[in-house]
């Protein structure tokens, strides 16, 4: 039952393999180049397992100790998970001990596979989803470990490498822009951040920006309201 599910799950994860090895490696390399210990990279990929947040965490770990700020910022950056969960309430029902791991390992890529793919006939649903989640996380952990090791072995000028995070978010921004007909949320997010950056300065603008963003978005009615009930 297990090998059958693994064999069915593997092909769906291959595109993620490439992406996670490369992005995971740049994360590990970046951590290493900023002087953050290998153990922190490993622990982060095992227990946080959220790419965007791990990139942001590099800066947070280099700054001063601000627990509340870190906690709220993480909630905000990862708030999208709330909606992944809502979309998968039905699919994950009745999967026993595998369910907590499926929820813990719910990243953007795994979500998109779980949403789009049903197990083939005769394959156990729980093991099928379990292996997709497990394989995806293994790729990410492996990538970040390889990146951190490369960072130790290859002494190169890494000045500017931190731009990989900016590049990542710019590309996600472009991809989302193309997928969405309503560009107001993207513009509101960037606009609120810019306004608060000008008002509060680069050290203290994120919390007010997040508050302002939710205030602006909560009453906004997206153009796609009619399609609202198909998650």
């Amino acid at each position: 039952m297990k090998t059958q599910a693994l064999r069915a799950a593997l092909p769906h994860t291959l595109p993620v393999l490439v992406g996670f090895l490369v992005l995971g490696a740049s994360y590990g390399f970046l951590m290493q180049s900023q002087g953050l210990a290998f153990l922190y990279t490993l622990l982060s990929s095992l227990f946080i397992f959220a790419g965007s947040m791990q990139f942001v965490s590099v800066g947070l770990l280099l700054a001063g100790f601000e627990p509340l700020h870190v906690f709220l910022l993480t909630l905000m950056i990862n708030a999208r998970h709330l909606f992944y969960g809502l979309a998968l309430l039905e699919k994950y029902r009745g999967l026993g001990w595998k369910k907590p791991y499926l929820i813990f390992g719910l990243c953007d890529e795994t979500f998109s596979i779980h949403c789009a793919v049903d197990p083939p006939p005769g394959v156990d649903k729980g093991w099928f989803y379990f292996f997709i989640t497990l394989l995806d996380q293994s790729y990410w952990v492996a990538g970040s470990v390889v990146g951190a090791l490369l960072g130790q072995l290859l002494p190169m000028d890494t000045t500017g490498l931190e731009f990989v995070m900016t590049a990542l978010f710019v590309v996600i921004f472009l991809n989302q822009w193309d997928q969405q007909t309503d560009h107001r949320p993207a513009l509101i997010g960037a606009g609120c951040a810019l306004a608060c950056l000008a008002l509060f300065g680069s050290e203290h603008f994120l919390l007010p920006a997040m508050g302002l963003m939710v205030l602006c978005l909560a009453p906004a009615r997206p153009k796609t309201e009619k399609e609202a009930h198909t998650p």
Binding site: A79, G160, T166, V171, G189
Partner: protein, 108 residues
């Protein structure tokens, strides 16, 4: 940060991340439908947060030596490359390589 502070920070990030993943399953245990405003926020928040994160990444650029010129050039390159090839990893890799080249050579 001390080692303890670093581990606490990582623990908080892990806890807050897990919270965002587990909360829906706690709040809606047996297929209870989420209210409309939650679903609405769910559709708009991801795009807005990415917009915010782009600004966050660039927060220190205006005050740097070249006032954000290398960032501007690299982002312009990413947009063009992405419009042309539509390859996420190529765009990230190409943009980062160009930025590193700029800040290590001409725009030091």
């Amino acid at each position: 940060m001390t080692t303890a502070q670093t581990l606490i920070t990582l623990g908080l990030i892990a806890a807050a991340t897990a919270l965002t993943r587990f909360l829906p399953f706690w709040v809606f245990p047996e297929g209870r439908q989420p209210p409309a405003w939650v679903a609405r926020l769910g559709r708009v928040l991801p795009a807005a947060v990415i917009g915010m994160l782009v600004v966050y990444c660039l927060k220190d650029a205006p005050a740097s030596a070249w006032h954000g010129l290398p960032e501007l050039v690299a982002i312009g390159f990413i947009v063009l490359l992405h419009r042309w090839k539509k390859n996420t990893l190529l765009s990230i890799g190409g943009g980062t390589a160009l930025y590193m080249l700029l800040v290590q050579t001409v725009l030091r």
